[in-house]
Symmetry: C2
Subunit: 545 residues, 2 copies
């Protein structure tokens, strides 16, 4: 019996194989990426979501390496959780390693984890695997995909990529390496599906340069640009435009400051010292001499742009004549918040430019024509679309079929599905239990469906608790004490409180000396009364003493 | 002193003048529309939002008429609230009146309200106003705008419109009437701004016919189309395609069934009896003989499509080979839910078509080229963009300026701003207090910011309540009783409960016989303890008996 190679896309939510992919041969495992997802709107109180990686913890001694493709949160954010559990080195390119280092330090793990810096041309021998990182273009510099030669054949994992011929950092993707893999024969391609429903070719990052050029030439007041803190090339473009048009640049928002500091230190961001000012200096310069980079392009109310929109930033306020640029694409679910912020910025007199009305953002992911090019370059025998929701993976799968890959050689699967790869077959194995894990505060995985349902109910109608003291003979000692929040505005609901007390008294009166389940009976009567009066169903509890 | 005409866009949320516009001259008031808005994702527990119309209730005797433009919820949904408060007739075209009648009956108001059916060519004399409804094309039939001749001049209110030359009902907008208004001289134009950021011309509803034709020709399994219940023309298109390709049609979802019943009865929907089947019959026909119209195109989990996606519909389940069409545009804020439903439908083996990948929906609102045509047709002296968020109104205002209307003759204002119009001036008056009113269950306006903040907090971390009985000497009578929901999964949090009880005991112990504010001291100690242990901040209460 030959051993099969197992490929398991893991974790996250919605997107498949985005946050983590496990590659397993015999008793040797390598992991590609360890990222987080952000919660959806109805995941109340949840801070972030990590993949459920119990599958590998059961055999954590087998893990030989964690290969990282690039420094975005959805690819590195779970390292601070994962690395507490396993003992394997992390491999990452220089900028990515720099960003990871900060994370490990925050998690107080920097001394316990081996972080190995690699280059895009390296050849790493890790157990039964030969790992060859290759350079890709994406919306953060120094991204790589991985060619992984395994005992059953060569597999290629793209990471996040686009075929940008003119990236801002001047380093186009490594087409030659892909062609070389192809010459050697690629058994299986795992490829980024994010934009599988977008026809055409994703525009180059440099088209933004023209848009910023025009903007900086024309704007008369301050220019405030919000973008992702990790979009180092966009930061570079804004810095270049500021320099060219005689504006000083302030970078604000913790994550953006941290990232640009690391990127500058490592040489991935070229900003002269004298171009930069502190945000507190911005107010003392004439508006036409100031550009400001801020966080909050996804509408987050506590990030800098959100605070500016709501007039709650300690050092800066939006003024008539400011130009605000949202240089980012709304992640689904964030549209409402983003539009709200845009409207508030307009209210304050700013001129607001965003992707919907101006050419101020391009995607970091390949569109359909690039996907076709990739498949034609790599010519894989088997194809596994990853990185995207099921709808994207299916579209990518159809595309691969149109490119001549046979339907039975394409596997569209969900997170946790074990794919078994041999030289002549790709089969779908069992699905491992689990999915993703909620992180709330310090707690990891202690908030499950029951707690979420309670939060939903509390969010909907609040709670109503009556504390009732009864005499031994069943009479009320005193008026019940009522605590209620999130249900009605108590100060204007005296009538309802009065009715609730009466309902309690009646239920007790009707019970005589029978105290059996008196609390449940009071709760039922109260629930009915409150629903009749308000049409709402708060959580109701009666505590009888 | 001449009397000024007052125009006040009211209510709703986000969009301006969408749900209600007040037109006031001296002591005579007419109202255009009375609609609702649906709550945003972070308005926890709120069912719907109505305009704050206190401004007119203070002078409700002056209200002469409520003019309705068309039968969509955001234009008629608040009538069941408003008509309890005022005593004025509603004017609406036949289909719109039919839809309103159902609403009034539900609200048990049908005998108290005068509902007058009008036609698009009528001339109504209402107090000092001459009101001329004119036909517009929109995504529901029988829509009108209003020409209103006032003592200061003629104002034109477009309602929701698009310049569709080939609408499904064969009744194009009344260009001649707009030209006639223009000949008479239009003092002020109030126009729909919804798509002010979309270049070009909105496609005709009939382009959908081709897409459905192709779909019905090719699909081998059942065809399930989700759209807005009020999109009568889309329902007609699906019925036509079903008829043409030999499929029976089931219409399901309460609002869609109700609306099609009314539209069929009034002759706005032409569906032969023998085409229709009940949803329960759908399962006994071969898949290729079945088409089903369903509600839930906005991702609502309790509507039909949501239940199908989650496998929770009592009579129908998605099968391999079904084609599901989402024939609707996501309202901002609903994207996440819609994509989740699409992914679940794909999981169940359906083929899913939506606006993003196929030509299965067009907007019901004018785009920029139509807006330009409108302004050129009407040639107003003053221009007030309405219907849209501030960002749309500003874009529409800029467009009007490009069309030659002077900047000072354009007023972009927010809800509640009083516009004062005279023959030679349009000035921005005071802004009336208020905004919108939350409806939650039966309660109207009783859920304000304080209750919302509590719900946010409860949604985030739940509550934690300790009921503590003390002896007269300050000792604990028994172990405190703890009720907590939405905080941690209690059955696995015995350690935290133990720690909480200890915290309570320590606080009491440290207080001796001093019971002054003992509850507050316990609450503070508990909050600190729980935050340290979990990183969460539930609402904490201590009830000391």
């Amino acid at each position: 019996m030959t051993t099969k190679l197992r490929i398991v896309p893991l974790g996250g939510l919605g997107e498949i194989g985005k946050n983590m992919t496990v590659i397993e041969y015999g008793d040797e495992i390598i992991i590609v990426d360890a990222g987080i997802m952000f919660p959806e709107n109805d995941m109340l109180g949840i801070d972030l979501i990590i993949p459920d990686y119990n599958y590998i913890l059961d055999k954590s001694d087998n893990i030989l390496a964690v290969l990282i493709t690039h420094g975005h949160e959805d690819h590195v954010g779970a390292l601070s959780h994962l690395m507490r559990e396993i003992d394997a080195p992390i491999y990452a390119t220089r900028l990515t390693a720099g960003l990871i280092e900060g994370k490990l330090r925050q998690a107080k793990l920097q001394h316990d984890v081996s972080l190995r810096t690699i280059e895009a041309s390296d050849v790493l021998h890790i157990g039964a695997f030969t790992v060859e990182p290759f350079h890709v273009a994406h919306s953060i510099p120094d991204g790589v995909g991985y060619g992984i030669t395994t005992p059953v054949g060569l597999i290629v994992h793209t990471g996040d990529y686009k075929f940008d011929h003119t990236p801002v950092d001047g380093w186009p993707p490594d087409f030659a390496k892909l062609a070389e893999f192809s010459n050697r024969g690629v058994l299986c391609l795992l490829a980024d599906s994010t934009n599988a429903d977008r026809p055409g070719w994703t525009q180059s990052e440099t088209v933004i340069t023209d848009a910023f050029d025009e903007l900086f030439r024309q704007a008369e007041g301050r220019i405030i640009v919000a973008t992702f803190a990790s979009l180092i090339s966009r930061i570079q473009q804004v810095a270049n435009a500021a320099d060219l048009y005689g504006r000083k640049l302030a970078i604000t928002g913790r994550s953006m400051r941290d990232n640009s500091k690391i990127a500058r230190k490592l040489g991935y961001l070229d900003i002269p010292d004298d171009l930069l000012i502190d945000i507190s200096q911005a107010n003392s310069l004439p508006p036409e001499k100031v550009a400001i980079l801020v966080t909050g392009s996804q509408g987050e109310p506590t990030a800098v742009l959100g605070r500016l929109a709501n007039g709650r930033h300690p050092k800066l306020s939006i003024e008539e004549g400011d130009t605000v640029v949202l240089s980012a694409h709304p992640i689904p679910g964030n549209e409402e918040m983003i539009y709200r912020i845009i409207n508030r910025l307009l209210q304050r007199g700013a001129n607001v430019l965003h992707e919907g009305i101006a050419n101020v953002h391009v995607s970091g992911h390949a569109s359909q024509e690039e996907m076709k090019l990739l498949i034609n370059l790599v010519k894989p025998k088997f194809f596994v679309p990853i990185h995207g929701e099921l709808r994207h993976l299916q579209a990518h799968g159809r595309l691969a079929q149109e490119m001549g890959i046979r339907e039975e050689n394409i596997s569209v699967v969900e997170n946790g599905t074990i794919l078994e790869l041999e030289e002549h077959s790709l089969t779908i194995g069992p699905r491992i239990p689990g999915g993703y894990v909620f992180v709330d505060g310090i707690g990891v995985g202690d908030v499950g469906p029951a707690v979420m349902r309670d939060r939903e109910r509390l969010a909907d109608s609040g709670f109503f608790i009556a504390v009732i003291s009864l005499e031994i003979d069943g009479r009320l000692v005193e008026q019940p004490e009522i605590i209620s929040r999130g249900f009605v505005y108590l100060e204007e609901a005296e009538e309802i409180m009065e009715g609730a007390r009466e309902t309690i008294a009646q239920t007790i009166g009707a019970s005589g000396r029978n105290r059996d389940k008196i609390d449940k009976r009071i709760e039922n009567a109260l629930s009915r009364y409150l629903y009749t009066e308000t049409g709402r169903r708060p959580m109701v509890y009666a505590i009888v003493k």
